[in-house]
């Protein structure tokens, strides 16, 4: 397997993987979106809410706020020894505010220094003159299978690596160049032919093929090479998500190994 990083911004990563098949890359993709755990607010005790937002709407908004996650410091509530919640599986965040003002995610005061909102500028609710808000939110680890607020990824997708071939029957009519919605093709004057400039941007829409009267251009895809794009909400970095996804896959395979050795749980 060969991995080549194409682009890396804050929470975005694009890379090309070679010599793998669809089933493997799809397993990684699915685990990334739905089985890697992150922190999110799960329980909210509202002591006072004078705002126009209903309690449940406010609790839902709080749940969607991404929290910076330290996977080493916490365990999943299902794997914790405690009955309800304890410092090793949950964090309490306090929100207090008095109108007139807009209450932001940055106003959440966390009991744990590693767990805090990724963005401080998310408007949670608006308070008018004399209105007050007071609540305690409990954040827990969870996985995307249970609720989308625990998904660490936003975009997590791959596409086949496209291949475009142009044969000699091409009459340089320029139709494919003009019709391509992503400007993948270009006319090279010195060679008097069409050249491919940005193959990784090609979405394999085949607009060029459909517009070619000579049938000289062909769009195909390699089935062992993929362009993988992963973007996270900031709770974990793309690398951390991929790393943890591989750990999850490893743990699952381990169970099969244990079973094969005759040590399966009954």
């Amino acid at each position: 397997m060969e991995i080549d990083i194409k682009e890396k911004h804050d929470n975005e990563l694009t890379f090309v993987v070679k010599d793998v098949d669809v089933s493997f890359i799809n397993a990684i993709r699915r685990i990334c979106t739905v089985e890697v755990s992150t922190m999110a607010i799960d329980m909210v005790s509202i002591f006072k809410n004078d705002s126009t937002l209903f309690d449940e709407v406010l609790a839902h908004r709080l749940g969607l706020v991404p929290l910076e996650t330290d996977l080493e410091a916490f365990v999943l509530p299902s794997e914790c020894d405690c009955e309800d919640n304890c410092p090793s599986c949950s964090v309490s965040l306090i929100l207090k505010g008095k109108g007139p003002k807009v209450v932001y995610s940055g106003d959440l005061v966390s009991a744990h220094e590693a767990v805090k909102p990724v963005y401080d500028s998310i408007p949670l609710l608006k308070l008018k003159e004399g209105e007050e808000i007071e609540l305690e939110a409990i954040a827990k680890l969870g996985i995307g299978l249970e609720h989308a607020k625990w998904q660490p990824t936003i975009t997590c997708a791959y596409k086949y690596y496209p291949v475009i071939t142009i044969d000699d029957s091409c009459e340089v009519c320029m139709k494919c160049v003009n019709e391509c919605p992503r400007n993948v093709l270009e006319y090279d004057e010195s060679q008097n032919k069409i050249v491919i400039t940005d193959i990784e941007n090609c979405s394999a829409c085949k607009t060029c093929m459909n517009n070619c009267e000579q049938e000289a251009i062909h769009v195909d895809a390699l089935n062992d090479k993929f362009i993988f794009k992963i973007e996270t909400d900031g709770s974990l970095s793309p690398e951390e998500v991929l790393e943890n996804a591989c750990d999850v896959l490893k743990d699952k395979s381990e169970e099969i190994v244990v079973f094969c050795k005759g040590g399966a749980k009954k």
Binding site: V65, S121, P123, E231, D233
Partner: protein
Amino acid sequence: MIPVRCISCGKVVSAYFDEYTKRVEDGENPKEVLDDLGLKKYCCRRMLIAHVEAW
């Protein structure tokens, strides 16, 4: 209130809402503000463009 995340993809669009509204009010082109804020996908862009702050 602006939804916390993009309804389609889940990107946290509300974090950019105050900056977006302020810059558009100051006369900047919404397209350029969105490009600058890094909102590339059209699902996230419509969240801010189509939002009406009612109260």
